[in-house]
Symmetry: C3
Subunit: 438 residues, 3 copies
């Protein structure tokens, strides 16, 4: 088990290394290559293509962006901003161009970060046709006067938007929904980490035999992907999804944080806060106003899915964010990925087991009869008979496992363990009211 | 506009100067002269007479108090406590008398404030027949021994209680109710200020063409006036009034304060607290137990009107209260009156526009389509697209404009501005659920 | 009256002295002798016997424990741990034995408290047959090597569990329930105090002629007694009990404390907290997790009686707890008992008078008409007309007397006094909605 977990950390990190250099954007072959690599780990992954131009709510699926090559040649013939070397150099969805311009003209099309002179920033222009290159401030400052050759061999075609989806079937149709995004190129925490953690959560779920809920997991481009997915699956999502998470920024080992669903009062929110409190303690709690990923769509009025987020360090809250410095090794580590993976496993375990238990006795049970009472100086049966009785005293059918855990100031996973011992002894009924929501 | 507002400040102050010397009490000609002066500014004001002796709930409309002259003559022939010079000198509702008494006997009938030797106090004895004079401690101490002539030429007649009322019609019958009182003689903050601010709020409303709600504004004597008015209008008030304020102590420039309705949970309360928070920030919040004006009747069990108060410095909370030192210039200023006028205008604007908006799109709107998205470095359409989206994300039909403002930590007036831009673009429906209460 | 109260303190203390030496356990003659002594004070007490072996929920009434004699003889012939001298010396429910063992073997059967060398601890082993003696650490350390004669002449017989019960009839069948326990031998705060305070509360109630509610008071052994009582009376308790208390640890004069019912939201809880706030101020508030007496059964899911506790110093929270040092005089005093008696009397008074009053006037009453308004400088009618009006302003039928007291920041007993004056004047209706619960 310990070995498996250690393997999981390494395997997630290896997947990140493999996917690193693909040119992920909201459409195109970088996305397809990424999904193919994931499918090797979870073979049941379905890869879906949605044609360019399709209307999705008030948006339209954009044309596919094809990049064959992109670079700048200096007056002294050096190739810089080479897309081959780092796809961050090219502003996302840049139009094709092949021209020769002065340094002064070129600089209007170069984006850099004066406050971070070593970093190449990450920029896109999905919905306004233009072109540009991203470069470190340091390199930009070193460029000599003269004429520069600018070459972008890109193309917009009537292609498709590509996403991956897997539905792991449990005993009932009610679903837990997880979503991550595949549109960010060579950056680690935001957002190779979400892809890697989600892939291995999916793998873990496909290998379990005892799932109560079904699990729907999607790998989509951010914003347009979630809008597209919702426009095609809204009815089933609204009828089946009882909890879920948008998985992003789950790779560094600096913080844990929580971002709520819009109203902050769903099962997903309660479980996230409970797990972070008991597993981490000192986590950062954001508000709906701090959001910035696909919960924007999942929690939009009329959609109202119960989607929250547990993150490591949130997008926008670390200095390497959206630059070439958001890298594997320096920012994202196996330990960072594993920390996120573990809290998601804990959350899913609690969601699976959450219910409204009801005691079967009309007074405190005479624990000795069930060999649950610790003998004098020799505690057997349960580790802590007092805690077991405390837990049972709340099993009135009105308190969920999570409520009971909060009332007993005890981790829900410990409550679940105690309830399963008590259920085996016939002291509590877990089945009658195993409800999915509170 | 700026000029208008400056004019309003000056005009309110001038009205206060004009009304200063009238002998306002709960009945009588001082009240009638005050209402006539108001009617010059708001010609639609109706002046209503309710006959003495009329039963109003468990109270009775008192006899009318007529004062022709009142003074004391000192042994050396000086006229003091002359009602002509300051009507505060005569205890309100004093019986007639014409007698000669010793200083010792006189002093039993003189009321002064040892702790404020320059101030003439304000006293009344509406429901117990007696007479008395109010005098500064300083003057009282200087009175020589000897016989004093006491003369009060007053009379109680079967007359009437007089009040003023205006109903400014809006698009619907639901009403906002405002009440102020006309029974206090020569004092400025309590209570010429309420008369002046309310008069100009009424003027402002009569000049608007686009009112949604109707506005019922009354000028009454305190306590017996509100009881009388309620006894005659209870049914329509209970069926129509959706918000309202008792306007008092709105003239000094020292503090802002809020006094709640009985349960503190009406639209009037939410709006008052929101406006004071965003316009003033650091205001004083009183409790129901601190009340002392006509909300005592408006919020009585079985009446239960949604009436709160926004004040400058509350009655009883400033040293000049109920004395001759509560004067124009020293206590009440144009700036003080204008500060109150402005927060009431803001409150009425928010009440007018409060509703439960509903978005029309099933995901975040693609703002560029409506030219609402700020171009790179050139923000057009809306000042802040992020705020607009935040606001829209709460438009689920369950949150009022006020709720949305609180959730976005933003002034409701800014929310209203954003919603009107969005409504023009068809992104939100403001009409369907424009409700008056939450 | 003052004398009566002083008598009550002395009488409670005398009862404690009388009962001190009886060998109270969960069954047996010590219990019967205790109940007989109580019956002398409250002659209507019914004494009930429940046969050994009877199934009560998932428990069984145990055999009766008879002890005729128990002691140890030292090698030098001294009698120690003599049950005659202090019944704490014998572990409760010890099996019979008559043997001779070495000091080393004996010490395995001796229980003492190293951290309290003078104290004899209190131990029982109700449900596992064994024997043992309790001794002070100091005495144990002084025992010489050699052979010890151990003699316990005890017996387990098919007898019964004995408890006492009294139902004081009021005007309606709805009941206030009080429970205390009679199973603890020679200890004062836990638990002669509960017996004594409850006995004199019962006496006080039987002497009142004007009770609205009926009062059910039981004297039972802890745990098995409440389980037995519940199993026989559940239906009537669930249908009639509107409030109640488990009375324990009410004899020392060090603290006051409160332990809630399971959900902490019953009338009993509100009254307890209100009384303690206004009578004591600085009391200790425990949680459900801190419980340890018969509320464990009374509030069990499916039982759900509204039972809380007001205590002096709680079991487990004072150093003498469950030792011979929990003694009369040193721990429990007449003053300590009286303090608890008084807060229970106050709580019962408030429960009796709690209702949802409704004013009869549609505005503030014109108090002078009812001679309730204080004349100038001569306050008559009510002590404080402002408070009376404040109280009446909350009489909307939605606020109980307790709610009104909280809103007016005033002790409920003062609210009750004011309401009774107002009811006599016809200003408020107390009868229409005299409800027992909120």
């Amino acid at each position: 088990m310990q070995e498996n977990i250690s393997n999981t950390a390494e395997n997630m990190y290896k997947l990140a290394e493999n996917l690193w250099s693909y040119n992920r954007s909201i459409t195109g072959d970088g996305v397809r290559k990424t999904l193919s690599a994931i499918k090797k780990i979870i073979p049941d992954l379905q890869i879906v293509e949605v044609p360019s131009g399709k209307k999705v709510f008030n948006w339209v699926v954009p044309q596919e962006w094809v990049v064959r090559s992109a670079y700048i040649k200096t007056p002294d013939g050096r190739k810089i901003c080479d897309f081959e070397k780092n796809n961050l150099h090219l502003v996302g969805y840049s139009s094709p161009i092949n021209t020769c311009i002065s340094l002064k003209e070129l600089k209007k099309k170069l984006y850099s970060l004066p406050e971070m002179p070593e970093a190449i920033p990450y920029l896109t222009s999905y919905y306004k046709k233009q072109w540009g290159f991203c470069i470190s401030e340091k390199e930009k400052d070193s460029l000599p006067e003269g004429d520069y050759e600018v070459y972008i061999d890109s193309e917009f075609i009537e292609g498709s938007l590509t996403y991956g989806e897997i539905l792991v079937k449990g005993n009932i149709d009610k679903e837990v929904f997880m979503s991550t995004y595949i549109c960010h190129p060579s950056m680690a925490n935001n957002e190779l980490s979400g892809i890697c953690v989600t892939t291995f959560l999916a793998k873990y779920l496909t290998e379990r035999k005892d799932l109560r809920y079904s699990y729907r997991i999607i790998f989509i481009p951010e914003t347009i992907g979630s809008i597209t997915y919702l426009s095609q699956n809204l009815e089933i999502l609204k009828s089946n999804v009882i909890a879920g998470y948008n998985i992003t920024c789950v790779g560094d080992d600096r913080n844990f944080s929580y971002l709520p669903s819009r109203n902050g009062n769903t099962l997903s929110d309660y479980v996230a806060k409970h797990v972070l409190l008991h597993e981490v303690g000192d986590y950062i709690s954001y508000e709906w106003r701090d959001r910035g990923s696909d919960e924007r769509q999942y929690c939009w009025p009329g959609i109202d899915l119960p989607i929250a987020s547990m993150m490591r360090t949130k997008y926008g809250k670390y200095k390497e964010y959206h630059t070439s410095l958001d890298a594997l090794g320096s920012v994202v580590t196996p330990k960072g990925l594993l920390g996120a993976y573990n809290i998601y496993c804990a959350a899913l375990h609690i969601i699976e087991r959450n219910c409204y238990p009801v005691v079967t006795t009309l007074c405190e049970p005479f624990l000795s009869r069930w060999n649950l009472y610790p003998e004098l100086g020799n505690k057997v049966g349960v580790a802590d008979a007092r805690l077991l009785i405390d837990i049972l005293s709340w099993c009135d059918g009105k308190n969920s496992v999570l409520d009971i855990a909060d009332r007993c100031k005890c981790y829900a996973i410990k409550v679940i363990d105690n309830l399963e011992i008590a259920a085996k002894a016939g002291l509590v009924n877990l089945d009658k009211k195993r409800l999915y929501n509170n």
